[in-house]
């Protein structure tokens, strides 16, 4: 069977800037594939190439077996796309937009009406269907955008940062819908995100992209296991940073941390925590905060790039907190 998404050596340049630098990608049928990376990593540019909105500068890509350059029209018939900014005409109503989208895809009127009603109900917009989209909240617009992407029952669904800017409730609802689509209909999904938790929760496999290149690829658990030891993070006042660093170096390898913090991969894991606390205390270091996290995708990202994913620490719930 043809892979729904297959890219080889995909490159996109904007003048001298190389936004995507030789990406290889193979997404299997029925898979939710997460594309994780910080802003400007090349996620959206890759999606725009795979969805025929941008021509690659080099390399090839096939979606549902069709070449994205020479068979762009065929690609557009089998994909559904929800772009980063919900692309919706505010003057029209939700129902009108679904009808328009159905006509553009050649769906017979009777079927489009049924399917439109079904989709509106499923994304929780039945009551707001006849209101102009300009009156919708951000979450409602995203859900309508998803419904628009699904009206023609696409074989491959591209979701470009679908939950950016959404409140936690709307985010959860959208995750649930993506899971349902994938579980019930086997829709292949490529999802880009800058949220670690989103990639962890939804994707069966992920690729971590940075600077236009894929730096890690695989199942989230396998990638995290490969990092090894859990990450110990401590927060101290600046005058203690040097002394604390000296102590921590005895317990494992230093890892990238947010400014004002220190992090190590704690050899031996939680069983050595008390020992670390005693050593820091003996060195006269006053701790403000301390936490031990099981390896996360942020650790995978840090291990691959030497940096933390922007804002990642705020999105992580520590498994154990003390100090």
């Amino acid at each position: 069977m043809t892979e729904p998404i297959l890219a080889e050596g995909l490159v996109r340049k904007f003048g001298d800037l190389v936004a995507v630098d030789g990406i290889d990608l193979c997404v299997a049928q029925g898979e939710i594939f997460g594309f994780l990376g910080p802003n400007g990593a090349g996620k959206s540019t890759t999606v725009r190439m795979l969805t025929t909105l941008l021509s690659p500068s080099a390399g090839t890509a096939r979606v549902a077996g069709f070449d994205v350059v020479s068979q762009a029209a065929q690609v557009r018939r089998v994909i559904g796309v929800a772009l980063q900014d919900a692309a919706i005409d505010p003057i029209m109503t939700g129902r009108e937009l679904l009808k328009l989208q159905a006509v553009l895809h050649g769906i017979p009127r009777r079927i489009s009406r049924e399917r439109g009603d079904e989709l509106l109900a499923r994304v929780g917009l039945a009551a707001a269907a006849d209101r102009r989209v300009g009156t919708y909240s951000g979450g409602m617009r995203r859900r309508l955008d998803l419904a628009l992407a699904l009206i023609h029952e696409p074989r491959v669904l591209f979701l470009d940062e679908p939950t950016t800017g959404l409140d936690p409730t709307s985010r959860m609802a959208l995750w649930e819908e993506v899971r349902r689509l994938n579980g019930e209909f086997g829709t292949t999904v490529l999802l880009t995100t800058q949220y670690l938790e989103e990639a962890d929760q939804l994707a069966g496999r992920i690729a971590i992209i940075d600077g236009g290149r894929i730096v890690r690829k695989g199942e989230p658990e396998a990638l995290k296991d490969a990092v090894g030891s859990p990450t110990l993070r401590i927060d101290v006042d600046p005058e203690y940073l040097a002394r604390a660093t000296e102590v921590l170096e005895h317990f494992g390898e230093m890892r990238p941390a947010r400014s004002g913090r220190l992090a190590i991969g704690l050899d031996g894991g939680a069983s050595r925590l008390a020992e670390v606390v005693r050593a820091l205390d003996a060195a006269g270091v006053v701790l403000n905060h301390m936490e031990l996290d099981a390896p996360s995708l942020d650790d995978v990202f840090a291990e691959a790039t030497g940096r933390r994913l922007e804002g990642a620490e705020e999105t992580q719930a520590p498994v154990e907190v003390s100090g």
């Binding site: 941008l54 557009r76 018939r77 692309a87 919706i88 005409d89 553009l104 102009r132």
Partner: protein, 264 residues
């Protein structure tokens, strides 16, 4: 929901859907269409009051009222004001990302452009009928009403399509509402430097020279002959042919701009 294969979309159905969206979009935004109906009438009323006695000048076309003389100018003003909405809407679509959604659907490029222009032309026809209805109440006369209405409607539709295509072309090139609006004064300057508001032969000098090579003069003069003299095939053909030629040129530009925007 089961995955099914849909028939190849109909380009005509797509174009009709896009045209419907254009018309609906304009109607739902009164600031887009109210000025295109009100300002030309206001300008017409002021000009008729101020310059009515110029009809007595030797060389001025024999008309029953200055309103009749200004009928082509009123229609052209309305069409210029109204049809730029197509470019505005296209630029807004690009700015808010809806254009990407349209491009991502399997719609033909002809439908994408043609639908908008058909929407513009439909609004152009409504404008012509509106101006004719209102001005005839106040004394404007068509020598041969059937021929006059027919030619005015056809030219109104063609010009609305031409101006719409030109403004869409600018929108596709720049992706900016400001850029589309920035070109609007050029249309109006071209209208003022024609025979629309006063016979150039009575002005003389550089104005007469410029007006004589301005395609809008050729359209206005053709329309005016049909309005004043009745069915004049040569005049009707000239007005229609020049409008159609401008339309073809503008559609060519818009097609090139669309290709350039899609092939990014």
């Amino acid at each position: 929901m089961t995955v099914t294969a849909h028939p190849r979309p109909s380009a005509v159905a797509q174009a009709v859907a896009i045209a419907g969206r254009s018309v609906r979009g304009v109607l739902r935004q009164p600031p887009q269409w109210v000025p295109s109906l009100v300002f030309p009438l206001f300008f017409n009323a002021v000009s008729a009051a101020a310059f009515d006695r110029t009809r007595a000048l030797p060389g001025f076309p024999e008309v029953n009222s200055f309103l009749t003389f200004l009928l082509p100018a009123t229609i052209l003003q309305g069409v210029l004001l109204g049809a730029t909405a197509a470019g505005n809407d296209a630029a807004v679509d690009i700015e808010n990302g809806f254009f990407d959604r349209l491009v991502l659907s399997p719609m033909s490029r002809v439908s994408l452009l043609g639908g908008r222009l058909v929407g513009s032309m439909a609004l152009g026809v409504v404008q012509v009928v509106f101006f004719l209805s209102v001005l005839s109440v106040f004394g404007a006369r068509l020598e041969n009403p059937l021929a006059g209405v027919l030619v005015l409607v056809v030219v109104g539709a063609l010009l609305a399509g031409a101006v719409g295509a030109f403004s869409v072309s600018i929108a596709l090139r720049t992706g900016s509402v400001e850029a589309v609006n920035g070109f609007f004064p050029i249309f109006f300057a071209a209208l003022f430097m024609s025979s629309a508001f006063f016979p150039p032969s009575l002005s003389g000098g550089w104005f007469e020279t410029v007006a004589s090579i301005n395609p809008i003069t050729w359209i206005v003069d053709g329309l005016r002959d049909v309005i004043i003299e009745g069915w004049v095939p040569g005049a009707a053909a000239r007005a229609i042919a020049v409008s159609a030629a401008l339309g073809v040129l503008a559609i060519f530009m818009a097609t090139r701009s669309l290709a350039a925007r899609i092939r990014t």
